[in-house]
Symmetry: C2
Subunit: 138 residues, 2 copies
DNA sequence: AATTACCCTATCTTTTTTATAGGTTTTATA
DNA sequence: TATAAAACCTATAAAAAAGATAGGGTAATT
């Protein structure tokens, strides 16, 4: 399951996507809309900004805004950013690889090989579905 | 990511699958092969037994054995048993459904709809890949 | 009857997740 | 230029989940 952080990130991105007509959106507007703690959401939006998905403006009249087109924000990007690996095992993660301590030989591990297939199937979906798909359905 | 419990369950099932020629396999044999705590593994094997995947025999010469054909042990079954939901959000879980508290209307939630699609794609893989696929690759 | 090994429950420790706190910097505008 | 509004930053605390351990109970086999 996704962490709340990631789920909230998707909610926030959806909200920002729906309000692209306005220059900026306040953290508070989003936090009230979804009942998310202001401070918790703040951390999430900051991470999205550092990742180049959001832009922000400080001071009065400031707030956050989408920097990318919704179709260019893949689900995989958001998940990796907030939650980490998408793969089901560390030994098959593309972005967060770690060997399994109990594994003598990765090359001879059937579990490893099957999980690589699972990962690739998952990525086919998560790399191609984007924020635009979410917005289309709202 | 899968929990260690689930990963260990797959290791144990693989080991049992590879030793189907013998009547039973000791917990200890598996725990030594993979360096898993005997007691921790015991709990896992018990759950697999309760789920009807493994059988066991008590007393001298006892141990665990596979009750099902490897091709009938889907990855999804093992994951759900030890880890819980496969879906990425509680509101799209088939087996562990819970509404999202922040969600006013599930029917109007784009995130919900997209995550249903993701879930279905994941299930396509996880329901069809089985222990037999792991064993084939060992 | 003794041994072997599964069965069960409870508890403890560690890690991760979730949330909070408090101050700093930047910007618009009156 | 003062003030208010808003993002930015860092640290810490609380809660939950995962991982691991302990110790005995029970059943079956030799």
């Amino acid at each position: 399951m996704l962490s709340k952080k990631t789920k909230y990130a998707f909610h926030a991105l959806t909200y920002l996507g729906k309000h692209r007509d306005q220059k900026t959106v306040l953290i508070q507007d989003i936090s009230e809309e979804y009942g998310i703690s202001h401070k918790f959401l703040e951390n999430i939006l900051l991470e999205l900004k550092k990742a180049g998905i959001l832009g922000s403006k400080k001071g009065k009249g400031g707030g956050y805004y989408l920097i990318k087109a919704p179709k260019d924000v893949a689900l995989s990007k958001v998940i990796r950013l907030l939650d980490g690996p998408i793969a089901l095992l560390p030994c098959v993660s593309l972005n967060y690889y770690e060997p399994c301590v109990e594994c003598k030989s990765e090359a001879a591990c059937g579990l490893n090989k099957v999980m690589i297939q699972v990962r690739d199937e998952m990525l086919k979906v998560l790399e191609n579905k984007t924020l635009a798909d979410i917005l289309d359905k709202e």
